[in-house]
Amino acid sequence: MKIMVCLKQVPHQDARLDVRPDGGWIQEDNIKFEINSYDTYALEEALRIKDAGGAEVVVVSIGPERVTQSLRTALGMGADRAVHVKDPEADASDPLGVAKILAAIAKAENPELILMGLMADDGNSAAVPPMLAELLGFASTTSVMKVTRSNGSLQAERELEGGALEVVELTGPSVLSVQTGINQVRYASLKGIMAAKRKPIDTKSVADLGLAGKVGAAAAKIKIEKIYPPPKGKGAEILTGSTDEIVNKLVGKIKELGLL
């Protein structure tokens, strides 16, 4: 079978987030990027299916040159080949624009299964996987914590509120969005990293996909007017001083609460 895994490169979890002067997004110069945490779990799940019974794993990402690094990482972990949509025309697409790009690639690749993270650590929209399924006419489910395949049927356990799980059976080609914690993600081995250098990364433009003028900032149906640090509420009283002074104040407070 063929599995397509969609990866988004996002600012590193510990990166400093400074808002751009125009307020439209964060400053992306001089910060580190990494594969969206949710997507690493999706890739690992695909690689486990490959390890268990054989599958071709194709990773897909959209973004500038720096995205090559994340695709190399994915290939180093065990993916077979990569497709990189590298085109400024794709920049600032809304989730539906992203889904249209991924759908065009999926139509060419014809995978049985598409795996991706529940959401991205930057936009937090959780929108693209169901949109992609809709555009392709695939089955879909979201926030998946377990995938089981047997006799041609695909079962997924999806996370509900409060930790309950819903078991869903999927028929036909499917898009699953994966929740963090579904597995323990592997690291790329040195051997894997060496092998990845010979694996192909196919570069595509928006025009190659027949989507000129249909995606990107101009075609977005919703735009970010501004991002900004959340307004400070009352917030915490911040304790200052030496460690001893801070600890004395904390102990005093715990006593005041009648808990010591």
Partner: protein, 326 residues
């Protein structure tokens, strides 16, 4: 006249509180736009819920009843939403950001080729529509402005007060054709979360650790001793459980346990929304984190910006000493 369509959710025969919150948002927008609010209740044996929504939320309530709507499935409920869209031609569709909403709403937005925005905490309705939501896991806020119609939006449960008003709405039956073959993602069963011995909901004091601990062995070395000294329980944030450092039973947050202890100490937890919703109603919150901008400090009563590996052991020692003196 353009309408606003609220996609209500029914749980245990009742309309969920979050659906009445959607009615609140919908009525605000409708008032500004001069449009009307309609709702959809889909299910099996959901007529009492639809009547309740008509009475308490007002407006026209479409009731889609079908055997294949007995359990949620994105395909069957998608058909019900499309039937309601055909009947109401809404300019705006509102869903709750729940396991149903985030599963279904993006598919509907793609099918309608509309504008989509998710997990909103508020909307500005005077003048142009602006949807407010958090990005970067709660570290930044964002204003989203749609430029196409229809707009499909999901709202965080608890983002506003549920609508309360004695309005007389009416229930209109809605025919939906669904066949078993339509269900490509089919409900099999729900497994409720198992309580695995760690019941944090009863603990008076909880000391929780997060990603800032850096390694699994730091929990027994740093967090558990403080919990023990205070006679409390140990908890954790989601990244800790995802990494396999502690079992799921320790997880505090929307996908773990919701807690309201007298004292909650969060060490090395930045405060992602999914954690905050599980602990923000604690009586007193102390946060210890090296990042002064961490969202956890917004919900905490007392904060320490510093190294948890210095503060927590010192606090443990001081608590043990105080107990010795008592």
């Amino acid at each position: 006249m353009a309408s606003i369509l609220v996609i209500a959710e029914v749980q245990n025969g009742k309309v969920r509180e979050s659906s009445y919150e959607l009615v609140s948002f919908a009525r605000r927008i409708a008032k500004a736009q001069g449009s009307e609010v309609r709702s959809l209740v889909a299910g099996k044996g959901a007529s009492a819920a639809a009547e309740e929504l008509a009475k308490k939320g007002g407006g026209e309530v479409y009731l889609a009843e079908h055997d294949l709507l007995a359990h949620y499935s994105v395909d069957a409920f998608g058909k019900a939403v499309r039937a309601a869209v055909a009947a109401a031609s809404p300019g705006i569709l509102l869903f709750s950001h729940t396991p149903i909403g985030w599963d279904l709403a993006p598919r509907i937005a793609a099918a309608l080729d509309g504008a989509f925005v998710s997990d909103c905490f508020n909307v500005e309705e005077s003048g142009k529509l602006v949807f407010l939501r958090r990005v970067f896991n709660g570290k930044l806020d964002a204003r989203f402005v749609p430029s196409a119609s229809p707009v499909v939006a999901t709202f965080q449960p608890g983002a506003t007060s549920p609508f309360e008003g004695a309005l007389d709405g009416k229930v209109t039956p809605l025919q939906v054709a669904i066949s078993p073959q339509d269900l490509r993602a089919k409900f099999i069963e729900v497994r409720t979360a198992q309580k695995q011995g760690v019941d944090l909901s009863k603990a008076e004091i909880i000391v929780s650790g997060g990603r800032g601990l850096g390694a699994p062995e730091k929990f027994p070395e740093v967090i558990q001793p403080l919990a023990d000294a205070l006679g409390g329980a140990m908890g954790a944030s989601r990244p800790v459980v995802d990494a396999g450092w502690l079992p799921h039973a320790y997880q505090v947050g929307s996908s773990g346990q919701t807690v309201t202890p007298k004292l909650y100490i969060a060490a090395g937890i930045s405060g992602a929304i999914q954690h905050l919703v599980g602990m923000k109603n604690s009586n007193f919150i102390v946060a210890i984190n090296k990042d002064a901008d961490a969202p956890i400090f917004e919900v905490a009563n007392l904060g320490v910006v510093g190294d948890l590996f210095e503060i927590v052991p010192a606090l443990t020692k001081a608590v043990n000493q105080a107990k010795g003196k008592a």
